[in-house]
Structures are given as structure tokens and as C-alpha cells.
Amino acid sequence: MTDMSAPGNPPFRPSMLIYDRRYRSMTFQVIVFILVMALAWWLVNNTIRNLAALGKDFNFGFLWQRAGYDIPQTPIPYTSDDTHFRAAMVGLLNTLIVSILGCIAATFVGIIAGVARLSNNWLIARLMTVYVEAFRNVPLLLWILIVFAIFTEVMPPPNAFRGDDPAASMILFDHVALTNRYTAIPTLAMTNDPGSLDLGARITISWATIAFVVVLIGGWIVRRMIGAWAQRVQDQTGSRPTTWWMSLAVMTVPSLLLIWFFGLHFEAPELRGFNFAGGLNVQNGLVALWLALTLYTGAFIAEIVRAGILAVSRGQSEAAFALGLRPGRTMNLVILPQALRVIIPPLISQYLNLTKNSSLAIAVGYMDIKGTLGGTTLNQTGRELEAILLMMGVYLVLSLIISAGMNIFNSRVKLKER
């Protein structure tokens, strides 16, 4: 009863840490863990000692000092009296703006180019090959600079729009002006402004925006209910009721009513003094960066899409045709769902690449987080280590969020094994 060592369980000896298979893996893991932690400790300690030798401390207090500089594009209200923290937030939002715009546009460009490259039309297929190879094989920074240089050198300056016989004129019924500084586009204005919701920290959202979002989400839910009802009727009676006009009405009529209620209209930009005012001036830096990121990443996505479609065996489409499905439905119902399984995982890394590549923005004077926190703030405060660490953290979190979102999407389309 008191004998603790049961038969087959010899007493523990230190040599068993190496020679006994039950303990060996644990031993090595502990050793590696200790080594890694020691290395990390050494790196941190080394940094702290060197900073101390230079007489510098490590703190993030600079974030709450007055920034003192201006930023060309501010999604949230910002003046030079605000803190470095707010400047960093403005930069982060600018990064998000160009990344989201870029991801959406690159997906469209990539799908179109990828499908077109498989086209039976020789000319279209070759043109797409030229596009893909040209953009994949030249560094992104050069594309950004080229696009920006074209905007700067080719477009007229704003004062070319002045006078009775101007050298340049606005396009789209005098609503849009392409200049070498920005593209002046109309803004949406309301005659019946309902005011804004104050979120604190001088960030506001117009009640009109909230109303539109609520109406659109509501419309989408109702549309799904109509679809479910149509399915039920079809299951019971065998004939599906015509629902397209209901869906259309549900999606558009409430929005149109809101537009009428708020008196929503376009306000065209006009030349006042040195620059266009009244409208929204979209900086050329943003447009150039967006365009270059889109075309560059689009070329990679095109190849991913092409690979995904080619990965679906030919027998699948032949079988679909044999069942009498039209080519469009074959693509939508048979090929794409299977191709998506191949496309999504590499697509995630393209989105991540695009987001990280947007840090080249400073080349065209677009103030993203690298331009504010990692540029002017770093320079004015001299806090290199803190600013760079913060930026690394921000990009890491952004990438993890994108990755998590796309992984959820991936798990929905991937092969369900039962």
C-alpha cells in the first residue's frame, strides 16, 4: 500500500530527462523556452542600457504634447493645437482609408484581369498578360512615383481654370476639376440638416448617415425575408413568385424618401482665391497611391484568381453543361464556389501586403501613420524607438484584424467535410 512505485513505473532519475521518451520532449521545450526568454531579456536590457548611456529615457509622454504641425487630409477634426496622439490617429485613419479603398479596387481589378487572362479572345488574354507582368515585375515605389508624376506634370494647376477663356475646364457638367494638386469633386449637402451625433473628442457622425445605414440594413433584412418567403412558397406549390420588384422597392424606396426628406444634393466645387472650395478636394497623393496600390496588388490577385479557376477540374464545368446549366450559372454555382477555396488563403496575404505597402505613402506626401507618427512626430520629438514600436504595433494589429476577418470568411467557403 505504501509502495509508491507501481510495477513498470521505475523511480525518477535525472538521466530520464534525456533518455526517457516521456520526459525528453518536455526537457527540450523547457531548454528552448529558457534560451528564447534569455535572448529577449538580453535584447531589451541592451536597449535600455544603450538608451541610458545616451541619456535618453523610454516613455510615451510625448503623445500628449502639442503636435504643432498641420496635416493635409484630416478625416476627423484636427488642428496644429492638437496632440501628437490625435495626429497619429488622423494618420491611422488615412492609412485605413487608402487600404480599404485599395483592397476593394484591387479585388475588382484582379478578378476581371484574372478571368480575362483565361479568355478565348487572343488579344484580351495577351493584353492582360502584359498588364500582370508589367505590374508584378516593377517595384511598387516606382509605380507610385510614376502615377504621381503624371498627375503633377500633366494636370493643369487650379489657376488655369480662372478667367473668361480658361486654359482648362471642369468635366462632368462643371462638377469635377482635375488639377495637379487634387481632384475637386462635389460634396453632398443637405438643405434639411438633422444635426450630428457627438461621439466625444470632437468626433461627430451626421444623423443623416446613421439614418441611411439603418434604412439600408433594414432593407437588406427585409429582402432576405422576402427571399425566404419565396422559397417557402416554391417548396409548397412548386412555382416561385416574382420577387425582383419587391426587393428593388425595399432597397431603394426608403433611401429615396430619405434623400427627399433631407434635401440631399450635390454642391459643386468652385474656384475661390488660390484653390477650389465648396467641394471636396481629394489629394493627388491619395489618388496616386490608391491607383498604384490597386494596379500593383490587382496584378497579383489576377494570378491568384486564374490559379483558382484553373484548379477546378474541367470535368466539373462539362458535367454542369451536361445538366443543362447556362455558362453564367455554371460559373456562379459550380466553378466559383470551388475556386474560392483556392483563392481566399493567398488573397488574405495580398490584402495584408497592400495594407503594409501603403506605408510608402510619404513618397507622394500622403500623411498616413508613417507620415504623422513615424514622420513628423518622430522628428519633432526625437522619440525614434517609441514611435517605431508604436507603428509596428499598429500595423501588427491591423494585419491581425484583416487576417481574422478573412479567416472567418475562409471557413465559410472552405470544403465542408462531413
Binding site: 541619456g55 493635409p72 496644429s80 494638386r181 488660390f274 506626401g365 514622420g375
Partner: protein, 338 residues
């Protein structure tokens, strides 16, 4: 146990490396070359010529320091630094001396742990516009688009100036002077702002300098000076007194042409001390007797360097103004050599 010994050794080595960095003079002498941080390219101040040789006002100061310390004005390695990288280059030890038209400010001197050793050019921020814009004063720039080098004090002055005058503007952030020039020439900004000396240098490089004007408003004080790392006072003294030697030489009429003659003939005790004829001032800063003489012989005294690079006879055409000797109504004032 072994780990802690290893780490202890590393930590000690790190500390010693930090201590070693503190003796810049010994490092420079051992290396036989002075690492000098300069502008990436600002004609008149620091720019490589057609043959790749660096010339300019700041470059000549590097040469003077190299001549004083190493006895050879050519033993300089020029490290081009941008507005963003310059202070990191200095504090990391990549350069021994930063002579790159940098403004002396409180936070740079204290928080960034730099030591500005003096002022070699009293400057101020100005605006350049095209003549055909019809603007004659910076107060008329309300609503204008302004090109501005990011990471400089000018960026902060610009924001303050427009705020104080209750005007709006649209900044265009650019990375280097060359890029700013290109944006300005293409008309992507109405005005280009930087130090007035920089504007003059930039304008001199244009094909049509007569079509651009520099507005009369000077919106800030920009005392430009060479900087060294905080903590090595002896090295700071060497660089500081090299600058004073150049300024004092002009005051006493010592030029690169007559310096040999004055060494033997001058009866002025201050000149005799400066040129190492009587007292051995050099020994007090770890150099030999003739350090100042060599510094002056390298590219001439302060006035000669000014005239050769940015003076009125050059395309840049800057008047001495505040940078004249104190005896001529300027601010250049060397401390006594005694």
C-alpha cells in the same frame, strides 16, 4: 549559471562600448577620417559637384575641422542626411559632426541630447512664389497651397504663422528639397517655404530665377549651426573653437592668403595666440599648436568661406546681413582666444 556569465559579459561589453563612444577625438584620430553629416544636396551649403566632390558652406566647415584635428582637409567622409535622418545619424555615432543647416532649438539641444556648438548662419524662414501670381506679401497667402519639407522646424513655424494671422492653407508635405523644387516648378503648390538662404539657393538653380520672388516676410528665427553629441565636452570644445577661429580670423584680417606672412610678422597678441605663435592653446583641447592655423588655411576664414559659397558674387547672392562681423553691425562674434 553559464547564461548569467554570458549575459554579464555582454552587458559589460555594451557599457564599455558606450564609454568608448564618448571619446570622439580619439575615434576620429584612430580612423584617420572625420565623418561629417551634411545635406543631401542644397547648392551653396552642401552639394556634390559634377565630379562628385562635395562643396559648399557647410562642407567647408567640415574641412576646417578635419584640418584642425587630422591636419588634412581632405580626410572627410561626407554622409548625406535628410531632414528626417540627421539627428539619428548623429546620436547613433554614424557621424562625428553634423554640419547640415540645422536650426538650434531648445528641445533639440536638450531632449534630443545634441550640443549645438554655435551659429554659423543666422537665417529665417521665408516664402518663394511665382511673380505672375501677383502676391507681394505673405499676408496675401490665405487659402494657398504651400510646399513644406516634412520633419523640419519650418513645418511648425508655418502652422504657427498662418494660425497667428488667422489664415488657412493647404500643406503639401515633401521629403527633400529636390522634390519640393519639382512640385513647386510644376505648380503643385503656390508657395514654397523654407529658410530664406535655402530659398535663394533653390532659386539660383532654376532655369528662370527672375520669374520667382522671395516674399519680404521672415516668419521665424532660424539660427543654423553645427551640432555634436551631448556628453563629449572635449570634442564639443574642439568643434566650437574651430568655428570661433574662423570667425576671429576674419575679424583680425587673417586670410588664407596672408596667414603665412602674419604668423611671422603679426604683432597683435590675439593673432599670435590664435596662430599658435606664442601660447599653446591647442594643448588644452588635445590638439597641437597650429590647429587653428590649419583650420583657417583649409578654406579661408569665415568671410572667405561665405563669399566663395553663398556670397553676393555667387549665383546664390546672399548679403552678409546678420552674418556680418559684430564690428560691421552683424551678429558674428568670436569669444576671445586667451
Amino acid at each position: 549559471m553559464k547564461t548569467s556569465i554570458f549575459l554579464g559579459t555582454v552587458a559589460a561589453a555594451t557599457l564599455m562600448a558606450g564609454a568608448g563612444m564618448a571619446d570622439t577625438l580619439a575615434d576620429v584620430k584612430a580612423r584617420g577620417e572625420l565623418n561629417c553629416g551634411v545635406n543631401t544636396g542644397l547648392v551653396g551649403f552642401a552639394a556634390p559637384d559634377a565630379n562628385g566632390n562635395w562643396t559648399g558652406f557647410d562642407v567647408d566647415f567640415c574641412k576646417a575641422v578635419a584640418a584642425a584635428v587630422l591636419g588634412d582637409a581632405t580626410k572627410v567622409k561626407y554622409v548625406p542626411t535628410t531632414g528626417q535622418t540627421r539627428f539619428t545619424a548623429l546620436s547613433s555615432g554614424e557621424v562625428d559632426l553634423l554640419a547640415r543647416n540645422s536650426t538650434w532649438t531648445f528641445s533639440r539641444d536638450t531632449d534630443l541630447k545634441l550640443d549645438f556648438i554655435g551659429v554659423n548662419y543666422y537665417d529665417g524662414q521665408g516664402f518663394m512664389v511665382r511673380k505672375d501670381l501677383g502676391v507681394t506679401s505673405a499676408k496675401e497667402l490665405d487659402g494657398a497651397t504651400v510646399c513644406i519639407q516634412t520633419g523640419t522646424t519650418t513645418e511648425l513655424n508655418l502652422a504657427d504663422y498662418f494660425k497667428a494671422n488667422n489664415m488657412a492653407y493647404q500643406p503639401v508635405n515633401i521629403d527633400s528639397n529636390a522634390e519640393g523644387e519639382q512640385q513647386y516648378m510644376a505648380g503643385a503648390c503656390d508657395a514654397y517655404t523654407t529658410d530664406a538662404s535655402g530659398l535663394a539657393a533653390t532659386r539660383a538653380a532654376f532655369a528662370d530665377p527672375e520669374n520667382h520672388i522671395i516674399l519680404p516676410e521672415i516668419i521665424s528665427k532660424e539660427p543654423l549651426g553645427p551640432a555634436v553629441r551631448h556628453g563629449d565636452n572635449n570634442w564639443g570644445d574642439i568643434v566650437r573653437w574651430t568655428l570661433y577661429a574662423l570667425i576671429a580670423a576674419e575679424e583680425y584680417g587673417v586670410t588664407s592668403a596672408n596667414i603665412g606672412e602674419l604668423t611671422t610678422s603679426s604683432q597683435n597678441p590675439e593673432v599670435q595666440r590664435l596662430l599658435g605663435v606664442t601660447d599653446d592653446l591647442g594643448a588644452m583641447i588635445g590638439l597641437d599648436k597650429e590647429w587653428a592655423k590649419r583650420a583657417i588655411m583649409a578654406r579661408g576664414n569665415y568671410g572667405e568661406i561665405f563669399a566663395a559659397n553663398i556670397g553676393e558674387q555667387t549665383p546664390i547672392g546672399l548679403a552678409r546681413g546678420l552674418n556680418a562681423q559684430w564690428t560691421q553691425g552683424g551678429l558674428m562674434y568670436a569669444m576671445p582666444f586667451r
